[in-house]
């Protein structure tokens, strides 16, 4: 979608490479087929034409030699019967020799030689007829001396002619043979060449396939693996994903990066919301102090963990109702915020301070001794008393607070104590602190009161069983 115009994607590349390999294989097959075909033709030519020629010439040479013998038989025949026998055999062989000569392929063999052979054969046939005639006459006793001499010559000529055929065809056989040799050498060479070509082609195809494999590994498999590793990593680092590129995997990578970025953003948001929600659940929305529930939870945690004495205190704003009534709730709220500020500034960061009721605050923290608590609360009381609360557009408000606290000692507590017992202990401490507060109120407000006796676990009913 980001690419403009056509860019070859993986699909196209895959297709392209597959097609290339297919083309190579088809090409190799076609080449092999063609080579086979040519070899087949050559072998066909060799076996059909050349071998036939060779066989024929050998047959002719053999028969030509028997022609010499038969010619001799004819010329010396003593009876007509012998003569005819020789003649019949001669004719039979002459015909056969003529046919075979005609069958010799004109392609390989010198036409002049074949022509000469045909001439000699004709001459031989004619000469045989003359010889036959002369011999018949001789047997009949009708030949004179000169004719007898002629017969000898004719017989001699017959031998010569038959011999000439044998020699000429022998030469033909030699030519054909060397031709066959040459052709079979060529054939061998060609077969070898084809073999080498085939091997080269096979190697090339294998290399190409290998190359294609590596190429795919680099362009596809490795990138997918890298993407998978990137996704598996915690946290997922967006810069691990491919940022550039236009093919399918790059686009997938970019989409995944975008998706992960979105997830991460969502996660951050959720975390923030969660934090906010848990804060809201544990804090008072007006003053930002812990609420009663959070106070209880934090107090119980502190009770379980602390090795030092713990001070549980309640603080009530004096005559707050008048502020609300005279200045309105909005001002009342502002006042409460100011006092909450003053109180928290007077306490340690780790100390738990909560808005416990309308204008009542509760705190819990560790101390070394009860005197520490006295000092702290006295200081808080005087800070509140001496600090004017300024509200824009309104007259300054002066207020005081009353404090009541109790100290829990005998810490740390046994780890076997149930949550129930801890709660009972806390409730007991708060109740005691509340009694002290009440005392402070009844003594005229703006003062700090506490119970003399420290609270221990033994103050709680059934605590011994719990401790066991």
């Amino acid at each position: 979608m980001s690419s403009k115009g056509y860019r070859p994607g993986l699909n196209a590349k895959t297709l392209g490479i597959t097609f290339l390999i297919a083309l190579l294989v088809v090409g190799a097959t076609a080449l092999t087929a063609r080579a086979f075909e040519r070899l087949h033709e050559k072998v066909e030519q060799l076996s059909q034409v050349e071998m036939e020629n060779l066989m024929n010439s050998i047959r002719i040479v053999q028969q030509a030699e028997s022609l010499i013998g038969l010619g001799l038989m004819l010329s010396v025949a003593e009876t007509q019967n012998d003569r005819r026998r020789a003649l019949v055999e001669l004719n039979d062989r002459t015909t056969w020799v003529r046919q075979m000569t005609e069958d010799l392929s004109k392609q390989q063999i010198d036409a002049e030689i074949l022509h000469r052979v045909a001439e000699v054969q004709q001459e031989l046939e004619l000469n045989t007829r003359i010889l036959n005639h002369l011999v018949r006459e001789r047997i009949n006793g009708r030949l004179g001396l000169s004719e007898l001499e002629n017969l000898t010559n004719v017989a001699e000529k017959n031998r010569e002619l038959a011999g000439e055929i044998a020699v000429l065809i022998g030469y033909v056989a030699a030519i054909v043979r060397s031709d066959i040799n040459a052709q079979s050498m060529t054939l061998q060479r060609q077969i070898k060449e084809h073999q080498q070509n085939l091997i080269a082609l096979a190697v090339f195809i294998v290399l190409f396939a290998l190359f294609a494999g590596i190429y795919f590994h680099i362009t596809v498999v490795r990138r997918i693996l890298r993407m998978q590793q990137s996704v598996e990593k915690t946290p997922v680092i967006l810069s691990d994903f491919e940022q550039h590129g236009h093919d399918e995997i790059a686009r997938l990578s970019q989409t995944m990066a975008r998706y992960i970025r979105r997830i991460q953003k969502q996660e951050a948001h959720m975390k923030h919301v969660n934090q906010e929600l848990s804060f809201l659940a544990e804090h008072d929305s007006l003053t930002g102090l812990a609420n009663r529930r959070h106070y209880h939870a934090a107090a119980k945690r502190l009770l379980r963990q602390s090795h030092l004495p713990i001070c549980v205190a309640l603080c009530d704003v004096d005559h707050f109702k008048e502020v609300n009534d005279q200045r309105g709730h909005a001002t009342g709220d502002l006042v409460l915020q100011s006092i909450a500020n003053l109180l928290s500034q007077g306490l340690r960061e780790t100390d738990v301070l909560s808005r416990y009721g309308g204008e009542e605050f509760a705190t819990i923290f560790t101390i070394q001794s009860k005197q520490d608590a006295d000092v702290i609360f006295e200081k808080l009381r005087s800070v509140v008393e001496s600090t004017p609360i300024e509200i824009s557009g309104q007259p300054v408000v002066w207020l005081t607070c009353s404090f009541g606290f109790a100290v829990i000692e005998g810490l740390p507590l046994s780890s076997n104590l149930t949550d129930e017992s801890i709660k009972e202990l806390l409730d007991y401490a708060l109740l005691t602190a509340d009694e002290a507060l009440y005392e402070a109120k009844s003594m005229g407000r703006n003062r700090v009161c506490s119970t003399e006796a420290p609270i221990t676990i033994s103050c709680i009913k059934g605590s011994e069983e719990n401790a066991l």
Binding site: T18, I21, A22, V25, V26, A28, T29, T32, A33, F36, H40, M55, R59, Q63, Q80, N81, R84, R85, L87, V88, N91, D92, R93, T95, W96, Q99, D103, R136, N140
Partner: protein, 489 residues
């Protein structure tokens, strides 16, 4: 995937390179036909190649020697035996795609009986009054008188179906309806046929067949020795030698080939019956029977008739082998010693070597014999057609052909009213008994007239490759029907 393709391609390649199962044959036959149209030549050689292969008739003599309808689907004969109605097959085409129908059949048969017909068996159909194509596939033949041989005659090579468009060229380019079509004819070498893949009937297993002409004895020997032919149709002088080879075998066949020393009865001195009788006494038939080697012994005959026929009369000893009687007869006939005669020999094994023996025999009674070796075309032309010969050694392969002696224009030049009368009686015979009786009479007449020197029945054997099966053995038609031929594993 790719590699599968590659593999498949390779396998295909290998398969195309390796030739498949054998489906061609090379069959040696003794004589090159003068033409390839059996309806136009008396030479049985045309039918040897084309009958049942290229050409088909309305009927056929099958491999069991039985008469079977071929291009006829069914037929009816009228009660008086004079009208034959044939239903023809409807899906038959010639090799050039012309259709075979009743009008083509009518044309083929009318061509046989026409005034100017060259058909060698025309006389056999002289009984036919009319031939009519009733409709596209119904043919009616009306006879002058009942003829028990009509269907048999319609099964002869001379009665095969030809198409008016192609019949003129059938001599060199035969076009028929058969399971094989003609490819080429190399003169003096061979005729090549190939399977007709559009044949109306069952497709033969053999794809191509080459009929090689075995023109010379030495060539025959050489081709057999080198295994270059798969079958030699008919025995030769040297066949027996090759029987020891494990790849060949001899199988019998059922022809009725009569070897005769044919005599030109019109050529002096053979126009004298005494001279002809002298020849019959002089020829040593026992010696001649050695022509095919020691393993086969031909059956002697005394007339132009096969011994297996029920009407056969044993006339083997009608003329005893006796040179004295022969010389005496010649003397009586006034033939002087040393009389030069010519023995014309066809280009066959039996011609060459049988001719030598006969020449010896005839010289021993005072003739001077010259051999005249001719090729088959020349023999057909000079001897058979022009009757320009004195003596010839020849094989008559047509079955039941004693009727040739009743023909006026046959190459024996035998003109005998007595025999013609006998033949009339044969033809008119009402019962088998009568029929046989007159046939016997005919045989005796030929023997007493010493028309020819009747020698022997040729031993009928095919010399075949051991794995080549399915040649028709019991057909008495001189033919080599390829349709059942196949190579066994």
């Amino acid at each position: 995937m790719l590699y599968k393709w590659f593999l498949m391609a390779l396998i295909l390649l290998l398969f195309s390179a390796v030739s498949h199962a054998r489906d061609s044959v090379r069959l040696g036959i003794h004589l090159e036909p003068p033409m390839l149209d059996p309806t136009q030549t008396p030479s049985a050689t045309a039918g040897e190649i084309t009958y049942g292969n290229v050409f088909e008739g309305l009927f056929i003599i099958n491999g069991e020697g039985e008469l079977q309808p071929r291009l006829v689907y069914s037929y009816e004969v009228s009660d008086d035996g004079l009208v034959y109605t044939f239903q023809l097959r409807s899906n038959v085409r010639f090799h050039d795609s012309s259709t075979f129908d009743a009008s083509v059949a009518q044309y083929s048969l009318e061509r046989i009986i026409a005034e100017d017909s060259n058909n060698p068996q025309r006389i056999l159909f002289s009984n036919i009054l009319s031939i009519k194509a009733e409709n596209s596939h119904q043919l009616r033949i009306t006879l002058a008188k009942p003829d028990a041989f009509l269907l048999y005659n319609l099964a002869l090579p001379a009665a095969v179906m030809v198409h008016p468009n192609s019949s003129a060229h059938n001599a060199t380019q035969p076009i028929g309806t058969g399971p094989f079509s003609f490819v080429s004819w190399s003169p003096e070498r061979s005729v090549l046929l190939e399977r007709n893949d559009r044949y109306w009937g069952e497709r033969p297993k053999i794809q191509s067949a080459e009929f090689v002409f075995m023109q010379t004895s030495v060539g025959t020997e050489s081709l057999l020795a080198e295994g270059l032919i798969d079958g030699l149709l008919g025995v030769t002088r040297i066949s027996h030698r090759f029987i020891i080879r494990p790849d060949y075998r001899m199988i019998p066949r059922n022809l009725e080939s009569k070897m005769i020393l044919a005599i030109n009865n019109a050529h002096p001195p053979f126009d004298d019956v005494r001279v002809r009788k002298a020849l019959s006494h002089a020829v040593d038939r026992i010696e001649l029977t050695t022509l095919y080697g020691p393993q086969v012994e031909p059956e002697l005959i005394g007339s132009h008739f096969p011994p297996r026929h029920p009407a056969y009369v044993d006339l083997v000893d009608y003329y005893e082998f006796n040179l004295d009687i022969a010389r005496e007869l010649l003397h009586e006939a006034g033939v002087e010693s040393g009389k030069e005669i010519i023995l014309t020999l066809p280009p066959t094994d039996y011609g060459r070597y049988g001719g030598l023996m006969i020449a010896d025999h005839l010289e021993s009674i005072g003739f001077t014999v010259e051999l005249d070796q001719v090729d088959w075309q020349e023999w057909m032309e000079r001897v058979f057609t022009q009757r320009d010969y004195q003596l010839t050694l020849i094989l008559h392969v047509e079955p039941m052909d004693i009727n040739i002696y009743a023909r006026d224009d046959y190459y024996f030049n035998y003109q005998n009213k007595a025999f013609k009368d006998i033949w009339e009686q044969v033809m008119d015979a009402r019962t088998d008994e009568e029929f046989y009786q007159y046939l016997g009479k005919a045989q005796r007449q030929l023997a007493s007239d010493a028309v020819n020197v009747f020698l022997f029945m040729r031993p009928e054997r095919n010399f075949m490759h051991r794995q080549l099966q399915g040649i028709w053995k019991n057909s008495f038609i001189p033919s080599f029907v390829l349709e059942d031929l196949y190579w066994a594993d």
